[in-house]
């Protein structure tokens, strides 16, 4: 779960990292109000979760003589990618001498957290790592020891900082680590972490991504930070969020396709997509249901995937261990009894309780296959029918 910048900055502040003076505004009226409280020049920052905000025009500067309402309403109306800003963060514009980078992420190769620092801030750290690997420093964290002060100071020295700046940077790293650890984050970044003329070190941008699987123990944090009203997303994002609400963990759309594909396993699902592609078929929508699937989820997944226009076939690939094929078959027949199919439905069903499942399908005259390749061939062929 990615947090908005203003939420991340609130957390940074709690942990002692300096942030620019600013307020979040959810409407033009609020922009008018808060912009009077902050000294000009200002920065208006669209609050979106997508990356590439700066390049997409999501950050604008307001000089002494500019009309903040005009610029603010332009920003509120501008979509960043497919995302309309949920709010605008109004901040003082600071005079920066140098931009640094500081962040914490998981290093899955070494199975530990890693602190990352760089003397080059304000750009994507992956890009810096590719173009100037010598300017990126790392310290890995022993899961049972944590990130120590000496490691933070070592990193600060390695990126060339001295005296007061070395201490400020090391403190910022320690704070980022504490945020990462105490709030079960996947990623925490201050980029840029900027040195001002006043010699203060301030996080001009803040990124916090929480681990979705740890949210159950972060309810205090989530209750504490100001939430924004749900944005009315459109298109793919809307349909994906609706699928998620219904309990479908994976919902993916691809342009130009005409096949709907449902699977009950991640690997078998990807294999199905690959085999469809190899036969020249084109997937439009793909749903993967995860483990422990109920008949109800099976039924809802059919409803969701069949709600798109222009589909010519639905291919369902079930190969269950934990999932029981009798329950899957009940879900399929329940859906079909309420919604007579307008397009062919091709079912492959194998695994736990497959005989029982096949009996249920046969009784409802649903055609099924035991062999995946045959099912894929049949499905792709039916997209070419009249």
């Amino acid at each position: 779960m990615r947090l908005y910048e203003f939420q991340a900055k609130r957390i940074f502040q709690e942990y002692g990292i300096k942030i620019p003076n600013g307020r979040v505004a959810k409407s033009i009226n609020e922009i008018a109000q808060v912009s009077n409280l902050i000294k000009r020049p200002l920065v208006l920052k669209a609050q979106v979760l997508a990356g590439g905000r700066g390049l997409a025009g999501g950050v604008i500067f307001v000089q002494q003589s500019d009309d903040v309402l005009k610029l603010g309403s332009q920003l509120m109306d501008r979509a960043i990618g497919t995302e309309k800003p949920a709010a605008v963060l109004v901040e003082e514009k600071l005079s920066v001498i140098k931009e640094l980078y500081a962040g914490v992420a998981w290093d899955y190769q070494h199975n530990c957290a890693v602190l990352i620092g760089s003397s080059r801030g304000g750009v994507d750290i992956e890009t810096v790592a590719q173009e100037h690997p010598e300017d990126v420093v790392k310290q890995i964290v022993d899961p049972f020891v944590g990130f120590s002060g000496y490691q933070a100071r070592t990193m600060a020295a390695m990126i060339g900082l001295q005296s007061d700046q070395l201490i400020q940077y090391a403190n910022a790293l320690r704070s980022l680590w504490r945020i990462f650890q105490q709030h079960d984050a996947e990623l925490v970044e201050a980029n840029p972490l900027s040195i001002l003329q006043s010699t203060d070190m301030v996080a001009l941008d803040a990124k916090v991504v929480l681990d979705d699987k740890s949210l159950f123990r972060q309810s205090a944090l989530l209750a504490r930070i100001e939430q924004l009203p749900q944005q009315s997303s459109v298109g793919f994002e809307y349909r994906r969020s609706r699928a998620k609400e219904l309990g479908i963990p994976t919902y993916i759309e691809m342009p130009d396709g005409n096949m709907a594909i449902i699977a009950d396993g991640a690997g078998s699902g990807m294999l199905t997509l690959d085999l469809v592609m190899d036969l020249g078929g084109k997937t439009r929508v793909y749903c993967e249901m995860g483990g422990e699937i109920t008949p109800d989820l099976m039924e809802k997944t059919m409803m969701v995937s069949l709600s798109l226009e222009g589909l010519r076939v639905l291919l369902i690939n079930l190969i269950g261990g934990l999932n029981r094929m009798d329950e899957m078959a009940i879900g399929i027949t329940n859906y079909l009894s309420k919604n007579p199919p307008k397009i062919p439905i091709v079912v492959r069903i194998s695994g736990t309780k497959q005989e029982e499942g096949r009996k249920i399908l046969a009784a409802s005259r649903v055609e099924f296959f035991d062999d995946l390749n045959q099912a894929v061939e049949k499905a792709v062929k039916s997209t070419r029918g009249n």
């Binding site: 998981w106 899955y108 190769q109 199975n111 530990c112 957290a113 992956e126 022993d142 899961p143 049972f144 650890q181 079960d184 996947e186 681990d211 699987k213 740890s214 159950f216 123990r217 963990p249 994976t250 993916i252 691809m254 699977a263 009950d264 396993g265 991640a266 690997g267 078998s268 699902g269 990807m270 294999l271 997509l273 690959d274 085999l275 469809v276 592609m277 190899d278 997937t283 993967e288 995860g290 483990g291 422990e292 190969i319 269950g320 261990g321 934990l322 194998s350 695994g351 736990t352 497959q354 995946l372 390749n373």
Partner: protein, 289 residues
């Protein structure tokens, strides 16, 4: 022989009294797995299918001497349960839970590796040595005893592959599921090292996915030479970048971890590339002629 689990394996089931735990334990016992004990804190003293239930792994170890454990404990509590089993001296812990917090997954894997034990998973279907023992939730009728080793990130993809091998008269020595990632306690290269020395395994099928690093790591291991044929299938060729494809670890990020790259890397390391389970089966036949 097989790897990791065999007829002589003494299995413990953590979370044996839960709905899924008890149902799957019954299937494992029916398959012939030697389940010697179960653990559910607070339910010590009960029995289920005649198997004693203990409050703690230590008590179970004292009374019944298990050497491996399968853990049906839900994600939020899985780390604690896994560490308990490893602390009690078990050599292998199979963690089925999918929703394990990242920091917990990292912690349990580090805890195990310091104690020279293995975590299989998290988010794994488990491990099966067909005809001998099963520590997992596999639909075991699709598997048959034979001489092909399989290591897979995905449970369902390993079922699919075993099914096709079985239908073509080829069986499996051991099928290991390493889990959906992005944290792995046991990887493809760990499995390759064991299959290399296993007298019951003639060839190894490596089933990979987009994202993560374990196929590349396996390729690095294969680069130093491997005495048995390795057939690799990496799924996700049709997966759009930037999307999590069902497994937390299955995502192409910033152009890294595509199926095409992994396939090329494995090919350079000497693996024979297949594009479907059907193709795996015909390659295996040819290689073992």
């Amino acid at each position: 022989m097989a790897i990791l689990v065999d007829r002589g394996t003494r299995a413990l089931v953590q979370g044996i009294t839960g709905k899924i735990g008890s149902f799957q334990t019954k299937l494992m016992i029916e398959y012939g797995t030697n389940v010697v004990a179960g653990v559910t804190p607070g339910k010590g003293g009960q029995t289920i299918y005649g198997i004693p239930v203990f409050d703690s792994v230590r008590q179970a170890v004292k009374g019944t001497k298990p050497d491996v454990s399968i853990c049906f404990v839900p994600g939020p509590y899985a780390c604690d349960a896994a560490m308990e089993a490893i602390d009690a001296g078990l050599r292998l812990e199979v963690v089925l839970a999918e929703a394990v917090p990242l920091s917990d997954a990292v912690k349990m894997v580090a805890f195990a590796s310091e104690r020279k034990a293995f975590i299989l998973g998290p988010d794994t279907a488990g491990i099966i040595s067909p005809g001998r023992a099963k520590l997992g939730v596999h639909p075991h009728r699709l598997f048959s005893e034979g001489r092909i080793g399989i290591v897979s990130r995905s449970g369902a993809l390993s079922y699919e592959t075993a099914k096709v091998l079985t239908e073509n008269g080829l069986g499996e020595s051991t099928v290991v599921g390493v889990g959906g990632g992005p944290v792995w306690g046991f990887t493809h290269s760990d499995a390759l090292k064991m299959f290399r020395d296993d007298r019951d395994t003639d060839a190894v099928v490596l089933l990979g996915e987009i994202g993560g690093h374990i196929e590349e790591e396996a390729a690095e291991y294969l680069n130093s030479g491997f005495p048995k044929p390795v057939i690799a299938l990496v799924v996700g060729r049709a997966a759009p970048p930037g999307q999590k494809m069902g497994h937390a670890g299955a995502i192409i990020q910033q152009g890294k971890g595509s199926a095409q790259d992994k396939i090329a890397t494995l090919k350079r390391a000497g693996a024979i590339i297949a594009h479907s389970p059907r193709e795996i089966s015909s390659i295996v036949r040819k290689e073992l002629k």
